[in-house]
Amino acid sequence: MSELVIETHQLTKRYGNFTAVDSLNLAVRKGEVYGMLGPNGSGKTTTILMLLGLTEPTAGRIRVLGFDPVRQPLSVKARVGYLPDAVGFYDNLTATENLIYIAKLNGINRTEAYHRIDEALERVGLSHVANHKVSTFSRGMRQRLGVAELLIKQPEIIIMDEPTLGLDPEAARQFLQMIRELKEEHITILLSSHLLHQVQEVCDRVGLFHKGRIVLEGTVNELAQRVLGGAYRVKLQAEGDKQKLAEALQTLPGVVNLHYNGTNGSGEIILETTQDLRPEAARAVVEAGGRLQTLSVENPSLDEIYAQYFEEVDHGAAN
């Protein structure tokens, strides 16, 4: 399935002389979870606001579910759920009352609204505090209430800006689980985050924003290939002739790089590879007369990709 539900073409937003979003071409497919990464001020929130028609683009074209958010904001906003960063609720109202207001603004009739609200609160685990004032809610509870709000809207697309910010590890884990469940319902999800391992866990594709542009895009493995060279790391420990082992491993097809972990001779050998090369590496060790002690593979981490990419950028900028 590759129907595009979000599409921007040369999207640009300027604040005075400052270009916050610069000729951005973003394409999100139906049903995928797309992660927006990038340093502070790289234009993620600005892009999201333009997708929702909350900020007018300076130039460029946007299509969200075939609608133009500038001309048809109501159609877009009726079908897209938005969870802003630092989501706020009316403190003087209860959880249910807050949701009823949103249901009314969406033109959902009363009985249907109550039905959906009960269901949504149940799903996010807030049923027991449905009639408590939101002023008594913790950060995590507010965040979950935000998800409940998304649920009652029954959107086709959900956009979340730093949704796991400030959540404890368990709450964040639950939150990611919720995102996976939504994905199973074929809802397209666009989320921005700085927590790279979380993004890596749930996102099908990620886009790396830098100075208002997407500088890297693809699956985590694709990015790793491009930035780190290898996408996988095969780690092994073996006894035998270091020289011979290294030669045998290095010549395996798919090995991009070989280095040692630690300085002494007993260190691990780390292979950066384009695929999971564990069987091939094991055979090579044996054929080279070595004795394999440990063997493991590590998927590339987004953290590393991110760090490596910006190291290169900084390096490039320094020259």
Partner: protein, 339 residues
């Protein structure tokens, strides 16, 4: 895929609609208006702030009307418009009820709107609400109407209370004209509140701090209540000085003074009140805000003529309200929604 997505065909009609709605915005700007009005009104009516103000206005209404009734009973009870005197009679040391309203209504209106827009930003609910299928137009107008309706509700309740006290205390029912005049007075009072509501709305859009917005609104109100009269007099004396002392000079200065005074919504309100509640009023030439009662001789004007007399005041009040609302609208449309 196993599960069907609910609206798979929306993209087709959307594209055809796109061509039609190429220039104009899609849908009504007032979508969701009543949801906003209902929510904000409920907030107002349950807020502690409103409770205090309701208590205050109840107290003044009760106090002034009881005092007025004592006064009315002790004087000649031959007045055709004895019910209207419930509103306008002052009994030392209390001023008349309309005098109180002149500053209570702005106070209530400001209290209803000074945190209307910035409150949403501060609670970080603005972006969440505007991400629903409504325009900013509906949100702003909804907030204004919620304030206006709340004000109308409170004032109508007070009006009913006063009429009820009048029937019990005076032992006669009001005449049709008395009811009509006092109802018109109620309408004028609500419109007068509209100005301060719109003003507070402007400041709540400009300032992120509700306290700043409240202070700015009160500053404007104080300026018109206390200082504008003095400034207007100084201006009139400077522009149209009385050098020789001819009647012409005096008239021209008085006319200018009147025009200047009417820049203040307070003057407009007081004059409109006088025109409605003191049926003998034929012109506002020499009536000053402090001289609400007495001093007017002659037969009462028919209702139609009284209304014609205060019509410019009424339109003036509405026009200023609309201008201020438009200003708030423009400011709000330009605001970045990031909270």
């Amino acid at each position: 895929m196993a599960q069907q997505i609910k609206q798979p065909t929306t993209i087709q009609p959307a594209q055809s609609r796109q061509q039609v709605a190429h220039r104009t915005r899609e849908g009504s700007p007032w979508t969701g208006l009543w949801a906003v009005v209902a929510k904000d009104m409920a907030d107002h009516l349950t807020s502690a702030r409103m409770r205090i103000l309701e208590f205050l206005i109840l107290l003044t209404a009760g106090g002034t009307v009881i005092a007025a009734m004592q006064n009315i009973r002790s004087t000649v009870a031959q007045d055709r418009f004895v019910f209207l005197r419930l509103f306008t009679t002052a009994q030392e040391p209390l001023p008349a009820f309309v005098g109180f309203l002149g500053f209570l209504v702005p106070l209530i209106a400001i209290a209803l709107a000074f945190d209307a827009v910035n409150g949403e930003f501060n609670q970080r609910t603005m972006s969440r609400v505007l991400a629903q299928p409504i325009y900013r137009d509906a949100l702003l107008l909804g907030k204004f109407l919620a304030g206006l309706f709340t004000l109308a509700l409170v004032l109508t309740a007070i009006w009913l209370l006063i009429m009820g006290m009048g029937i019990l205390g005076l032992g006669v029912p009001p005449t049709g004209e008395e009811v009509a005049r006092s109802l018109l007075f109620l309408v004028v009072t609500i419109f007068y509140g509209g100005i301060w509501l719109a003003l507070a709305l402007v400041f709540s859009t400009v300032f992120r701090q509700p306290a700043t917005a409240a202070l700015a609104s009160i500053a404007v109100w104080l300026f018109f209540t206390i200082f504008w009269g003095i400034i207007a007099r100084l201006l009139a004396q400077a522009i149209r000085p009385i050098e020789v002392g001819t009647v012409q000079e005096v008239i021209s200065q008085t006319t200018l003074l009147q025009i200047l005074n009417r820049i203040s919504p307070n003057t407009l309100y007081v004059e409109a009140t006088v025109g409605l509640l003191l049926p003998a009023t034929r012109s506002f030439g020499l009536v000053l805000p402090s001289q609400l009662q007495g001093a007017i001789l002659g037969a009462p004007l028919p209702l139609g003529e009284s209304v014609a007399l205060i019509w410019p005041h009424l339109t003036g009040l509405v026009a200023v309200t609309i201008l201020l609302f438009a200003l708030a609208y423009v400011l709000f449309q330009r605001q970045e929604i990031r909270a």
